[in-house]
Assembly symmetry: C2
Homo-oligomer: 397 residues x 2
């Protein structure tokens, strides 16, 4: 039999790959480099560029004017050109533990970091990410702990008359166990889908770590698609690979809330779950907070734990759905049944801060008990990850 | 209760998003645009650029010299600048049905398409993808058919002394059924991991569609991580977010083959599966073909279906493992037990074409029966997706 040393296969593959990399503009440098003191060095090879810049959510924000008001936008810094066209920037100070995102700007053109394959999509924007460990981001990291399972499944929703996709986290040991588990329904915001919490929210990492530390009970987390007009995330349905947009597939017309029992029915008939109110939680961010508020009051016997994360908690006149009618009466019924936890969290610069303050005033006037958590910052994933790390440990105790 | 119309929430969110998009260089054009006649128009906004080009696997290849020989690399074409700095290129001819990948090159710098959020990672290269339907790519598309479940799970491998990640496709109806199912183990190549077949290989779409058409039997597909030194794909293990490389975590030392019974044991004790040889298949691409060849001969009673896709089917002298010893004797035993299908597929320009021809010569000399499939092209995913669409229908019949 012909003998060929294994080395030759490695060389051939490497060469084939290298030829492709050269053509596809691969760069053989390290970026981002997280230094021992948690400063971070970014590098970008662009020998012909006049200016290479970096924008990221770890840089001081700048006020940006728009026709609808002023927004905090991530800052921009310049890189310095070094040898062989490699541009470089090191943060002047160590970065606090966090999951950060960034992009380069080369002569005005936004470019992802070709040396970093870790990307997150937020609606139609794709940015690089990295983690600084040693603090909260330890909860966002894959650690040497038992891991749960993440499944993408489809269920039928008779109320919406379609098959719909859902992302389901089952805790470590679920498959081997004969136990039943409590269920936490976790809802995304406008422009999001059933991929948002698992990717941007780091849900599986957070739950794995909190459970391993004994801080959260083992639970099933159900991340359903909250857009009543959409079967699944962009690219994951027969609609094909279209360009996602804010509010494109988002409807806030009551249909999602009305159809929510379909999700619960699917979960409770397909998983070993505890089926009492005290073993169900619902929370969501932004539009998902709006959904959580309306679903929990529409079905006051279903959820003992309700979390409104930067919730778009605004009653509206446009929607005709019965879901949005008689809000006061339904809230009265919900709170008469004494939910164990009604948690409202918002950042102090969130554009929904006032709307949440108004809502809390109403709850206060009625004497409905809730727990309030105010954080720094605005309508951003950094806050929603923090809220998840704080909310999950309070559940099912 | 204060009334705020829902419209204001939409406007606020859109504005917040728009402010971010402007800063992150979002572009408000359509690209790629698949025209009615299946020509494709690519657009890129770059008012300051001198030259904008496109490279993709639908363009005629060009011969590229490297120290190790000549390779076919994807071609490059120029875009034409139009109004407001929008550059454009339309393919002169309709593209055949396929899943294609591409990138822009702006003044020498490779840039993904900011208007296309659909990306595939192949080792350390990230490129945009799109589908042309009306032929084979209908099998790669999410269609209005029943969908299986895709789960990312972890299992313990005593032989490798670590927890390892595996991607598992269960067919539509698996969860509701009381049936047992056959199992197809599908292995990736060097530089790949347990994400390769599901992302680049479109396995869940291909299986959903073949099963819906009655062309493939409902089966479980197990895509395990084939790198014995790696727990999980880059970013999915405690090793964190490092830069993936060819052969970086790849070992071809026999340990993966030796530990393979751990995967089977996990699957057979956690899923409702048929456990006879006639209900097990194994196939893999490149290194995964090498693994499939060695695993199937090492355990000659386990697999009735063996698929070598562009297999790195080279015996090697370097590896000391018992797995690679006595290849001739083990093959003799394997073929004496008459596997139902031994399938060898390779592209006629694959750099492993000669190695596969040599291997077939040996099988021919011994009179061991196999089915041979020669396709056009080289060592590329286009071929491996085709092989999967042809191999899966032959299984478990």
């Amino acid at each position: 039999m012909k003998k060929i040393v294994i080395l030759s296969f490695a060389i051939m593959l490497f060469t084939a790959s290298h030829a492709q990399q050269v053509l596809f503009g691969g760069q053989d440098i390290v970026s981002p480099q997280i230094n021992d003191n948690n400063t971070v060095t970014f590098r970008f090879t662009a020998p012909k560029a006049i200016k290479v810049q970096l924008t990221g959510d770890f840089l001081p924000t700048v006020k940006t004017d728009t026709p609808f008001g002023q927004f905090d936008a991530p800052g921009v810094v310049d890189l310095t050109e070094g040898k062989e066209g490699v541009w470089e920037y090191t943060t002047p100070k160590p970065l606090a533990s966090e999951l950060y995102s960034y992009s380069f700007i080369v002569d005005g053109l936004r470019v992802p970091d070709p040396n970093n394959v870790y990307l997150n999509r937020d609606v139609a924007s794709v940015t690089n990410i990295f983690l600084i460990k040693g603090g909260i981001a330890d909860l966002f990291s894959v650690n040497d702990v038992p891991h749960g399972t993440v499944a993408r499944r489809w269920y039928n929703s008779p109320a919406l008359n379609m098959d719909r996709r859902v992302t389901i986290y089952t805790p470590p040991g679920y498959e081997q166990s004969k136990e039943t588990y409590p269920v936490f329904y976790l809802l995304h915001g406008a422009g999001g889908d059933e991929e948002a919490w698992i990717a941007l929210g780091r849900t599986s990492q957070i739950l794995d770590n909190l459970i391993a530390q004994g801080k959260a009970k083992p639970m099933i987390v159900v991340m359903t698609n909250g857009n009543a007009g959409q079967q699944a995330a962009p690219g994951e349905s027969p609609k094909g690979m279209y360009k996602p947009s804010f509010m494109g597939d988002t409807r806030m017309d009551g249909d999602f809330e009305k159809a929510f029992p379909d999700v619960i029915k699917f979960i409770e008939s397909n998983y070993r779950v505890k089926k009492e109110k005290k073993n169900r939680a619902i929370a969501g961010l932004s539009m998902g907070g709006f959904h959580s508020m309306h679903i929990s009051k529409q079905y006051p016997d279903l959820f003992d734990y309700v979390g409104l994360f930067s919730a778009a908690i605004m009653p509206n006149e446009n929607a005709q759905s019965e879901i949005y009618k008689n809000t006061e009466g339904k809230l009265q019924t919900q709170f008469a049944k004494k939910p164990k936890l009604y948690w409202i969290a918002i950042g102090n610069t969130d554009f929904l801060f006032q709307a949440n303050t108004d809502y809390r005033t109403i709850l206060d006037e009625k004497g409905y008990p809730y727990v309030y958590r105010e954080s720094d910052g605005g309508h951003i994933w950094k806050n929603w990850r923090i809220y998840l790390t704080e909310f999950a440990p309070m559940l099912f105790k």
